[in-house]
């Protein structure tokens, strides 16, 4: 068996960022993601990179904007309140078509709330919490290994589509330690960054901006972004199917909830219940096709989220019109993390 590290999900993100060639990190401390800056503050200087602990999340996202504008791979990470503060900057990056990776190890809210695992920031991440009606790529890992793999993917998608990409997890996935096999970065053909500012050096002037005032310019710009989102839906939707072929009840969940649900599904299979799991890996683009396809036959879906119901809207918008959706949610907070036993009960209830 190839060498296994034993690290936290958060550390896997940091290790992947370095493997992805990211040498610039800008962030501000917040639980439960601090392992990321702590790891990178140790490693980046050794690689000639820059680690800056910014004065705030707002400064951090704008340093990221500046660094990304020069064409380098760069990132930031935060959680709950910090991600809210970054919304303006994320909107600017989306409007300026800048890549850049944002890691959100979500915590419970609203407000200060708590630091427990949460999926209540699905809307913020997927619908665009900032102004202007943009979208960003949103990836939802469910294991330490996926924290690594999807961070690599986030950097590639960000560069390919010239938009921010978010890795959305929570303390279950971020704080959990598991064995990790750190594969080398995949070979991907990336478009040249011929838009990046660099000091003209006799060449064309380059401007990175989101202000468009000419008649029809901004509308055209928005349609252009919209078209990109269409391509993403076409080509980049990713999901995991687990025992779905003969499923009479389809459980759907992402990230930590999916991880717990999987064990519940195993329990169900053990007692002969035909239950399967559809786990979206890309939350944006949402894997609509997978839902449409699976609900042609399976008409019962149990959506499980660590919130009061958010992804369920995209599920309902994606499934066959005659399929039925049940919901089981646990809004996050101390002691509110569901157990496999608990989810197994829900499966029996709706089977």
């Amino acid at each position: 068996m190839s060498k296994r590290l034993f690290v936290k999900g958060n550390e896997a993100v940091a290790i992947a960022a370095i493997e992805a060639g990211c040498r610039y990190y800008f962030g501000y401390p917040i639980t439960p993601q601090s392992d990321i800056p702590e790891y990178l503050s140790r490693e980046l200087p050794k690689l000639g990179g820059e680690f800056i602990q910014a004065e705030s999340e707002i400064a951090a996202i704008n340093m990221l904007l500046g660094a990304s504008a020069t064409g380098v791979r760069a990132m930031t990470s935060s959680s709950g309140p910090g991600i809210s503060l970054k919304q303006e900057g994320i909107s600017y990056m989306a409007g300026s078509e800048l890549p850049g990776v944002i890691v959100d190890i979500a915590r419970s809210g609203p407000g200060l709330g708590g630091i427990d695992a949460s999926q209540a920031d699905y809307f913020q991440a997927v619908k665009g919490g900032g102004h202007g009606g943009y979208h960003i790529v949103v990836l939802a890992p469910c294991s330490v290994q996926e924290m690594y793999d999807l961070t690599l993917l986030a950097f590639d998608l960000a560069d390919i589509y010239r938009m921010p990409a978010m890795v959305l997890a929570d303390s279950v996935i971020g704080q959990m330690k598991e064995p990790l096999v750190p594969h080398p970065r995949p070979e991907t053909v990336l478009p040249p960054k011929d838009w990046a500012v660099r000091g003209k050096g006799g060449g064309e002037q380059r401007v990175v901006k989101s202000l468009f005032l000419g008649d029809g310019e901004l509308e055209a710009h928005n349609w252009k972004l919209h078209a990109k989102y269409g391509v993403l839906k076409e080509k980049e939707g990713r999901w995991e199917e687990f025992q779905t072929s003969d499923a009479e009840l389809l459980v759907t969940a992402f990230g930590s909830a999916a991880r717990i649900a999987k064990t519940a599904i195993m329990m169900a299979r053990e007692v002969g219940l035909k239950v399967g799991l559809l786990r979206p890996i890309t939350l944006f683009p949402f894997p609509e096709k997978a839902y449409a396809a699976l609900t042609v036959h399976c008409k019962k879906i149990l959506d499980i989220e660590l919130n009061t119901g958010q992804m369920i809207e995209d599920v309902r918008l994606s499934i066959a019109r005659d399929a039925e959706v049940f919901f089981y949610g646990r809004p996050p907070g101390a002691g509110s993390l569901p157990t496999p036993e608990e989810l197994f009960e829900q499966i029996k209830k709706h089977y």
């Binding site: 296994r4 279950v172 330690k177 991880r259």
Partner: protein, 183 residues
Amino acid sequence: MRHDVFIAGFGGQGVLLAGNLLSYAALIEGKNVSFFPAYGVEKRGGAAMCTVVIADGEVGSPVIGNPSATVVLNQTSLDKFGQKVKPGGICIINSSLIDTSGFNRDDIEIILVPMNEIAMQLGDARMVNMVAAGAYAARTGAVALTSLAEALKDALPERNHRFIPANIRAIEAGAAHAGFEKS
């Protein structure tokens, strides 16, 4: 084979280190493992807990509703989690700080270990977690004591490697005590 254990205490008792130690030991033994920590607000005060799942096959959910083994290092942890132990499971209790009079479950095995006293005798109150890890390993066989000892260098930061011998003594003391209780 599959082992899951839930360890709880208050911040500063080294609950997380104990869990890590068990995990590294499992890794050394070539097993799959997930270590899931949890603590109170941000970092200060409050409770510290962790769940370790050790399996030859797939680990599955890192959180468990009714763990087959639970180790509690302080009173509130017993009060909060004592009832959750799976019937037929075991509960290892730090009797130095915990009054068990109110705790009566006859469907599980209860093991009392005066962890603080043992640690203090060995010269450092902070080794309570090592005593606990030793006791758990000895009692369940989830991992071998030798693996625990070997895992110390992975689990401890370089600068604390000098404490390894002392920690090994604590692990063994815990094991011995739990072992003694056993018969």
